[in-house]
């Protein structure tokens, strides 16, 4: 059935109603004739016929408001157009347009997903504290979260009494003075003595050393640092720690605890970093959950624990939960260090200093940056074969610093 619909007379017309039928059913009408009077918000408009035809029936009642596009008239099919072309008079059905109409898509369908993206900030650090009732600047909140500072205990000196970054940096040093007692050197030495003695007594250590060509790493590091401010600079420890934790993922037998004659590998990688303290102390707090961190993030965490180690503010969990320890003696100018494993860990890695020495590269002598990494590991859990694989993996990782 061919119908004519409530016509649209404008984009702001949504509804209309027929207030008078002009063309009658059964009687032919011609193009241009008025079929009905339509009432719209702007007033009365004639609905005109665009082609000749005959009405079959009216489909709606008078004065009934309907949306634009609603069928209001049905028509009888009448062949009306002739094509004069090849001499034959052909009668065709009018409204060839209908065939075309069926294939169109509406503008609505053409529009798929919304294109415009709302602008959302790109930085969202993991643990944003929102719990303090005090006003604190976003930067201060981020810093506090990263350093485990309780904002409720901080006095703010920023705009309108808000807590700002400089208030937190003061905070950590005052923390240090109050915690100074916990780092009594004599007591610490006693504790260390106890640990290392136990370690040497109980853990059968084996030792491996591997010299790594870090020329590529050094070049990459310099390039990275060229684009960074002094604050953001990466020290070589950062990519090394990154390589280590990546290697540990492949060789989890070095990342875990040996207790009661049983080794349990740990899912989470907590990298213990040996830090020597002024006055002769030693502490090895961990960068917790280092598994997903990139070198920049590791650098930040390393700085944070180093600062806090020296000023106080290391948390209990950070000290007891290291799953492996790394001892970096490089900045003391020593090439190789063999560590003592801190039980219940099963390995300790040592990182020596960066040396510029002649090496053979493609059968030619070149000066490259080299660095010796050592492994002291628990022979009850692993042996030299495994250790070699671990060190080689670390080497491999460091040859592709951009993938760290």
């Amino acid at each position: 059935m061919k119908t004519l619909n409530m016509p649209s007379f404008g984009s702001d017309m949504d509804i209309g109603k027929v207030v008078e039928w002009v063309a009658k059913p059964g009687k032919a009408f011609t193009k241009g004739e008025t079929l009905a009077l339509i009432e719209t918000a702007k007033g009365l408009i004639d609905m005109e016929a665009f082609e000749d035809g005959v009405i079959d029936t009216y489909l709606i009642d008078l004065d009934k408001e309907v949306p634009v596009g609603t069928p209001i008239l049905s028509l009888k099919y009448e062949p009306l157009r002739r094509i004069v072309g090849d001499g034959d008079e052909k009668e065709i059905e009018r409204n060839k347009l209908e065939e075309i109409e069926g294939k169109s898509i509406s503008a609505q369908e053409a529009i798929t997903a919304p294109l415009v993206e709302t602008s959302i900030g790109s930085e969202t650090p993991k643990d944003i504290l929102g719990k303090t009732t005090h006003r604190a600047s976003p930067a201060a909140r981020v810093y506090a979260a990263e350093h485990g500072i309780d904002l409720d205990k901080v006095k703010g000196t920023g705009p309108l009494g808000s807590i700002v970054l400089k208030d937190l940096k003061v905070e950590t040093t005052s923390n240090a003075t109050s915690n100074q007692k916990g780092f009594d050197t004599k007591l610490m030495r006693k504790a260390i003595a106890s640990v290392v003695s136990q370690s040497k007594k109980e853990i059968p250590h084996y030792y491996l050393a591997h010299t790594i060509n870090i020329e590529t790493l050094q070049i990459w590091l310099d390039a990275q640092n060229n684009q960074k401010t002094v604050e953001e600079r990466l020290l070589i420890q950062a990519p090394i720690l990154c390589a280590i934790k990546n290697a540990l993922k492949k060789y989890p037998q070095f990342n875990g605890f040996y207790n009661n004659e049983e080794f349990i590998a740990q899912q989470q990688i907590n990298l213990g970093v040996a830090i020597s303290l002024r006055g002769g102390g030693l502490i090895a707090p961990a960068i917790l959950d280092a598994g997903t961190l990139n070198p920049e993030q590791l650098m930040k965490r390393l700085k944070s624990i180093s600062e806090r180690a020296k000023q106080g503010g290391i948390k209990q969990s950070e000290v007891t939960r290291a799953t492996i320890t790394i001892s970096n003696i490089g900045d003391r100018g020593v090439e190789v260090i063999y560590g003592v494993i801190f039980p219940p860990q099963v390995a300790i890695l040592g990182v020596g200093k960066v040396q510029r020495i002649p090496v053979a590269v493609d059968n030619k002598v070149q000066i490259n940056s080299m660095l010796t990494i050592t492994l002291a590991a628990d022979h009850r859990v692993t042996d030299g074969h495994d250790g070699a694989k671990l060190l080689n993996e670390i080497d491999k990782q460091l040859q592709k610093p951009e993938a760290l």
């Binding site: 900030g121 790109s122 600047s137 930067a139 705009p159 700002v164 970054l165």
Partner: protein, 325 residues
């Protein structure tokens, strides 16, 4: 030492000498020598066809500039001040900015419009507007604001090279400004911001006449150990967001100096962008230093109180850093 005015004059001279398609038209640019004496002497040098005085028909001659640029010339249209540009707003917004789009990319409008802008000479409400933000909000045009003599000298050529309409705003208080004209660097880019003064504690973002005030404030506080970074936007559309964000992430504290009225100012747009992209780096609320919500008054003390002054900027800098003056 060159004045801002002389630099622009030289820029026009060189452009017209180098390219026969370039000509300048506007009110009183020829026989009068230019309302701000920018075009003094150019009529004698280039003649009436190329330094063309127009009747007081802003809409007419801006539209003519559009038509001429479509048909192959490179006109520089001078609208005496932004205050009169509103008579040509239809041509600028409905034609220059839209022709490329409406024609589906067929027709470009390589037109350059220069306008004086700003307050400070007790010229009262109808002669003191800063409407850069209106123009900077319109897709299809580009907006430049030279704040230094060097930029006054070299931005025009960049604008003339651009295939899209470019509006250059010259602040009235800068015409007499005298500075060393620096040579044009190979990587000169008119459409980027510059770090006018590097710093680490607070960022001041500004353009046009705000630059010298910002630099003075930076000098003042450096005596107290505060390091202020001043960003000269130079290009108002497109905004150099990268430069803005980079500075804000460094200092965490921002003051934006803008001579437009506070509401709907460019400072507001920049503020919104900063809060969207740099929230976690902010160490204090963003401060906007803009003109008060009043038509510019005539008496000197009121005009001064209405537009951003060094004291206002200083106050904002102290606020964000939590220091007392």
């Amino acid at each position: 030492m060159t004045t801002y005015r002389e630099a622009i004059r030289e820029a026009i001279r060189v452009a017209m000498t180098d390219d026969a398609r370039v000509f300048l038209m506007g009110e009183d640019v020829g026989h009068y020598g230019g309302c701000y004496a920018v075009t003094k002497g150019l009529l004698d040098e280039f003649g009436e066809q190329r330094i063309r005085d127009t009747p007081l028909s802003e809409s007419g001659f801006v539209g003519a500039g559009i038509g001429a640029s479509i048909a192959g010339m490179r006109p520089i249209v001078e609208i005496m001040t932004v205050n009169f540009s509103m008579l040509a707003l239809d041509q600028i917004v409905n034609n220059a900015a839209t022709l490329r789009h409406m024609s589906g990319g067929q027709i470009g409008v390589p037109l350059v419009i220069r306008m004086a802008t700003g307050a400070g000479k007790q010229l009262a409400a109808q002669h003191s507007h800063s409407l850069e933000n209106w123009y900077a909000s319109i897709p299809g045009i580009k907006v430049l604001a030279p704040a230094t003599v060097t930029d006054a000298r070299y931005m025009l050529a960049e604008a003339l090279k651009d295939p899209d309409p470019v509006i250059i705003f010259e602040h009235v208080m800068l015409y007499n400004q005298e500075q060393e004209l620096e040579p044009r660097q190979d990587d000169y880019n008119a459409f980027k911001a510059s770090v006018a003064r590097p710093g680490t504690d607070v960022t001041i973002i500004t353009y046009g006449a705000g630059l010298s005030k910002a630099l003075q404030v930076a000098d003042q506080v450096s005596d107290k150990g505060m390091s202020v970074e001043v960003i000269d936007l130079r290009c108002l559309r497109p905004l150099d967001s990268e430069a803005i964000f980079s500075s804000v992430k460094k200092t965490g504290k921002v003051v934006i100096v803008d001579e437009a009225w506070l509401t709907g100012s460019l400072a507001s747009e920049i503020s919104a962008q900063i809060s969207e992209h740099c929230l976690w780096s902010l160490d204090a609320p963003i401060q906007r230093v803009c003109t008060q919500e009043v038509p510019i008054p005539y008496p000197a003390h009121l005009e001064k109180a209405a537009i951003p002054q060094i004291e206002n900027i200083l106050q904002a800098v102290n606020f964000v850093s939590g220091t007392s003056p």
